[in-house]
Every structure is written in structure tokens, then in C-alpha cells.
């Protein structure tokens, strides 16, 4: 009887913990929507910030979009190329094992460290200034290991039977990669890239050190322009704002950021499901 009671207690405890972990994220989402929806207006979305916490967030929205797009432009091709090399060409030796070890441990490296490197190397040493370019390159460092890993995984799950069939038709290895392996892997790669973009768009420390002060009143015009972004805006207004309107604007910006993030995650999910159905598995 006593053991049975213990069993019951353990079950109860597990239910509570599972329940908590399931509801906590939806609660945050609802909470952000509830607090932020009041800030959303056409003026807020299309205006520029003034007197610190007043006005709109258009330059920040565009800044985030520019930063993430440019970061993807750098990070995705580099990551995909590295993954192709690692999974298709590199033999298993000390060098490739080291590269793999680094990509695995560098995914999730504290972003402030990447930010500091971006600041010292890109901003000061290469004289890129705190700018769109410096921010995007630094973000792509952060994104790279994720892209490599996701692409490598996507390439590795392409059945070897496809490769054999292609090689048996007289295709070279590269032709096989280009015409069979990559088309089959691209949905998986895109899923990885979109998830990486989701990480990049929410990143604060890196853009803080490399992209701009956060409250820029203008959409960046050149690669060397300082660039504001939503996470920086939220950080500044939430910590240093003085008024209720300021706090509401921080929530409004969070809501916009959340929507952009969800758009990426949902597309990633959609592509993955669609792709699995198409593969017939």
C-alpha cells in the first residue's frame, strides 16, 4: 500500500512538472500579446522613435530584417558549403573531427563572446564601425554552426540508394550532389536556416556590440550605417524608459519581434512536414 502511494505521489509530481513546462511558453506569448497589442498602431509600425521612448519602431523593424537577411546571405551559403564538404568529401580524420567538434561546441557559444570578437575584429580592427555589415557578419558567426549542423543532418538522411542510382548512371560525385542530394536535402537545410534566422533575429548581445545603439531614427542606407534592431530597442526602453507609454512600446516591439520569430519557426515547421510528406515517409 505504501509503495502504491509513493507511486501515486511521483506520478502527481511528474504531472505538475510536465504541466508547468507545457504551459509556461504559451503563458509568455499570451502575456506579451495582452500587454503589447495596445501599442500597435499604424503610426507605431511606420514611425520613427523620438525622445527616447516615444514614437514608432519602423527603423528597428527594418534594421532587424536587414541584419537577419544579410546574415543569412553570408551564413547560409558558407554553412551549406561546409556541410557538403564535411559530409560528402572529407574523410574521417583528425582535421574533420576537429572541425566537427568545433561546430558542435560552438553552436550555442555565449553570444556576448561573439559580440566582443565582432567589436574588436570587425568594428575596430577592420574599421567597419558599428554598422549593418559588422552586425550581420557577427550574427552569421553565430548562425554558422547551426546551419552546418542542420545541413549536414539533412544531407546525411538522403538515402544512399539515390546516390548509388545516380552514380550508376554515370554521374560524377558533384553532379550527384547537385542534382540528387541537394534537391532532396534542401527542405531540411531550409528548416535549419530558418531556425538559425530565428535565433539571429532575437539576438541582443551581438547587435548591441556591433550593429548600433538601438534607437537609430533612420533605416540604414549603406552597409556602414549604424543599425537599430528590435531586441536592442526593447532592452533600452524596458530598462531605461520612464513612462507607461514607454513600457507599452517595449511590449509592442516584443510583440512584433515575436511575430517575426514565429513566422520563421512556423515556415520551418511547414517545410519540414511538407517535405516529409513529399518524400513519402
Amino acid at each position: 500500500m505504501k509503495e502504491a502511494q509513493k507511486e501515486k505521489a511521483v506520478r502527481g509530481l511528474l504531472y505538475v512538472t510536465v504541466g508547468l513546462s507545457i504551459v509556461i511558453l504559451p503563458i509568455i506569448v499570451v502575456w506579451v500579446i495582452a500587454n503589447g497589442v495596445g501599442a500597435i498602431s499604424l503610426g507605431f509600425l511606420t514611425g520613427r522613435p523620438y525622445r527616447f521612448e516615444y514614437g514608432g519602431i519602423f527603423p528597428q523593424i527594418m534594421g532587424s530584417i536587414y541584419l537577419v537577411s544579410l546574415c543569412t546571405l553570408f551564413g547560409a551559403p558558407l554553412g551549406i558549403a561546409s556541410a557538403i564538404y564535411l559530409s560528402e568529401y572529407a574523410s574521417d580524420n583528425v582535421v574533420t573531427r576537429t572541425v566537427r567538434f568545433f561546430t558542435e561546441t560552438l553552436a550555442g557559444m555565449p553570444s556576448i563572446v561573439i559580440g566582443l570578437f565582432g567589436l574588436e575584429f570587425l568594428v575596430y580592427y577592420l574599421k567597419l564601425k558599428t554598422s549593418l555589415l559588422a552586425g550581420a557578419i557577427s550574427l552569421s558567426f553565430m548562425m554558422l554552426p547551426w546551419t552546418i549542423r542542420a545541413s549536414e543532418e539533412a544531407i546525411n538522411v538522403v538515402p544512399k540508394e539515390y546516390r548509388e542510382a545516380s552514380l550508376a548512371m554515370g554521374a560524377t560525385k558533384w553532379q550527384t550532389i547537385l542534382r540528387v542530394v541537394l534537391p532532396a536535402a534542401i527542405p531540411g537545410i531550409m528548416t535549419g536556416v530558418l531556425l538559425g534566422m530565428g535565433k539571429a533575429i532575437g539576438e541582443t548581445a551581438v547587435v548591441w556590440l556591433t550593429a548600433g545603439s538601438g534607437l537609430e531614427a533612420f533605416v540604414p542606407r549603406t552597409l556602414k550605417s549604424p543599425t537599430g534592431s528590435l531586441p536592442m530597442y526593447i532592452y533600452l526602453i524596458a530598462t531605461q524608459g520612464h513612462t507607461a507609454e514607454g513600457l507599452q512600446n517595449a511590449f509592442g516591439a516584443s510583440l512584433v519581434l515575436l511575430v517575426m520569430f514565429l513566422a520563421m519557426s512556423v515556415s520551418a515547421l511547414f517545410i519540414r512536414n511538407h517535405y516529409l510528406r513529399r518524400l513519402g515517409s
Binding site: S91, P159, E161, Y162, E164, A165, S166, L167, A168, M169, G170, A171, T172, Q175, R179, V180, P183, A184, R278, L279, G280
Partner: protein, 269 residues
């Protein structure tokens, strides 16, 4: 490359002894690492007949088959010694162009493995790769290849649909059509029916008998009845060696080696 022997041939009246030697192994050895998988293979495979490789699992049938289009080159630990001649040319010479070689040798695998593309794109894959045709010329190759694999009537209205929507037997015929699309003269089949149901198997077997009019067909099979039904020549392999090779009827009715006899009578497996 046309062959004078069997162009209008009547299979029943055909004697394999008259056919040309198409693929000739001479003192061929193959290792995967330290594993000596093929030992001193000497065998002459004739054109325009179906030659079957039989033998217990792991004896090296697939490896022998894949040596004919050098598909073993893909495996890094693979080493070879000795020669294989196709139409008198040694394909293991260092200057052999394996990509050209594989164009002349079609391969059909155990598990149907169409690409995750439309039926049309599957068949057009090779011709596009080798820039053989485009537009209407390509349509024609696709149609002819599908007709060659006796699949055209079943799929002609759904060429743009994904090949995965087809049944297993149809998928395997897509793979056969894909192999035919680049106009090979040899077709290698590695247990092409083992993943199929009996009805699909009958269709593929009938197809094999038809294919030998135009192609040299080499078949690996576990199924003794299948070897008896479709092949003119049979090789029996055991642990990397060819124990017996001859006309299928001779090998089945009058085996010279005790191992062959045991295998055929089902006394080991």
C-alpha cells in the same frame, strides 16, 4: 552497339554457346580492407543472354556484379587485382573513364530506388545529365524507355506525378526504364524482385526475358526458380569463388560440384 547474334532471335532456339563473350573476368580479386571477397574470378559472360549469379548470402554476388561497372570504387576500403574486359577493353586500366563506362552499363538495385522526382524526371535524369536530348527528343527517349520497361501504358497519363506514388513493382520498372534511358548494352540486376510481390515478380521476369534481345543481362538472385525461369547461364558462387558455371539446365540438372548440388537441393542456405 548492335549485336549480330540475337537481333531477331528466337530465345527458345538460341544456344548460349554461340553468343559472344561480352564481359570477361581474368584472375580478378577484390578486397574490402583485409576481407578477401572475390578470389581469382575467371568467367566469360555472354552477350544477349541472361546470366544468373547464385549462392549463399555474403558469398560475393553483389560485389561481383558491381565490379562490372566499377561501382565498388565508391567504397574507400576496396582494392582490386586482375582484369575485367568489356568488348575486349580492360575496364580496370588506370586510364579507364568510369563515368563513360557506367553510361554503357545500366544497374537495377534490390530495393526500387526511384529519385524523389516525377516519373518523367526520373527517366530524363540520365539523358539530361549526359546532354543526350532535350524537348521533344527527350520526350521520345522517356517514352521509349518506359515502353522498354513495359510501363508506358500504365503511366503515360501521369508522367508528372511523383514516382513514389507508384506500386513497388511499377517503381522497379521505373528504375529499369531509367537504366534503359541512356542506351546501355549491359544491364545489371541485383535481386530486382526480392522486394516485390509474386505478380510484380512475374512481370519483371517476363521483362528480363525480353531485355536480353537487346542487352546483355546479368542477374543476381537468391531464388532458384527465378534463375531457372529466366537465365540461360548460371554461375554458382561460394565464399568468393565461382564453383560452377555453365548452361542453366546443366547446372540445375547435372551439377558437377557437390556444393552446387547441396545448394540446389536446398541442403544448405
Amino acid at each position: 552497339m548492335s549485336n549480330t547474334y540475337m537481333i531477331n532471335g528466337d530465345a527458345a532456339a538460341f544456344s548460349p554457346r554461340l553468343a559472344l563473350d561480352k564481359v570477361v573476368f581474368k584472375g580478378f580479386n577484390l578486397w574490402y580492407g583485409d576481407n578477401h571477397v572475390l578470389k581469382d574470378i575467371d568467367i566469360a559472360i555472354k552477350s544477349n543472354v541472361v546470366t544468373a549469379f547464385m549462392g549463399p548470402s555474403g558469398c560475393g554476388k553483389s560485389t561481383l556484379l558491381r565490379s562490372i561497372d566499377r561501382m565498388n570504387d565508391i567504397i574507400p576500403s576496396c582494392k582490386t587485382e586482375g582484369d575485367v574486359y568489356i568488348d575486349g577493353r580492360n575496364i580496370y586500366e588506370p586510364d579507364e573513364d568510369v563515368y563513360e563506362l557506367r553510361k554503357t552499363v545500366g544497374m537495377v538495385f534490390q530495393k526500387p530506388n526511384p529519385f524523389p522526382m516525377s516519373i518523367y524526371d526520373n527517366i530524363a535524369y540520365g539523358p539530361r545529365l549526359h546532354k543526350m536530348a532535350s524537348g521533344e527528343g527527350l520526350d521520345k527517349i522517356v517514352e521509349e524507355s518506359l515502353r522498354g520497361a513495359v510501363l508506358w501504358d500504365e503511366v503515360k497519363d501521369r508522367l508528372q506525378e511523383n514516382a513514389f506514388g507508384l506500386s513497388g513493382g511499377q517503381q522497379q520498372r521505373v528504375c529499369i526504364a531509367r537504366a534503359l534511358s541512356i542506351n546501355p548494352d549491359i544491364i545489371l540486376m541485383d535481386e530486382p524482385c526480392s522486394a516485390l510481390d509474386p505478380i510484380a515478380t512475374i512481370k519483371i521476369e517476363a521483362l528480363m526475358r525480353e531485355l536480353k534481345d537487346k542487352y546483355t543481362v546479368v542477374l543476381v538472385t537468391h531464388n532458384l526458380q527465378q534463375a531457372a525461369r529466366v537465365s540461360e547461364m548460371t554461375a554458382f558462387m561460394y565464399i568468393g569463388e565461382i564453383i560452377e558455371f555453365g548452361a542453366t539446365s546443366d547446372v540445375f540438372e547435372n551439377p558437377q560440384n557437390e556444393l552446387t548440388e547441396n545448394y540446389i537441393t536446398g541442403r544448405f542456405g
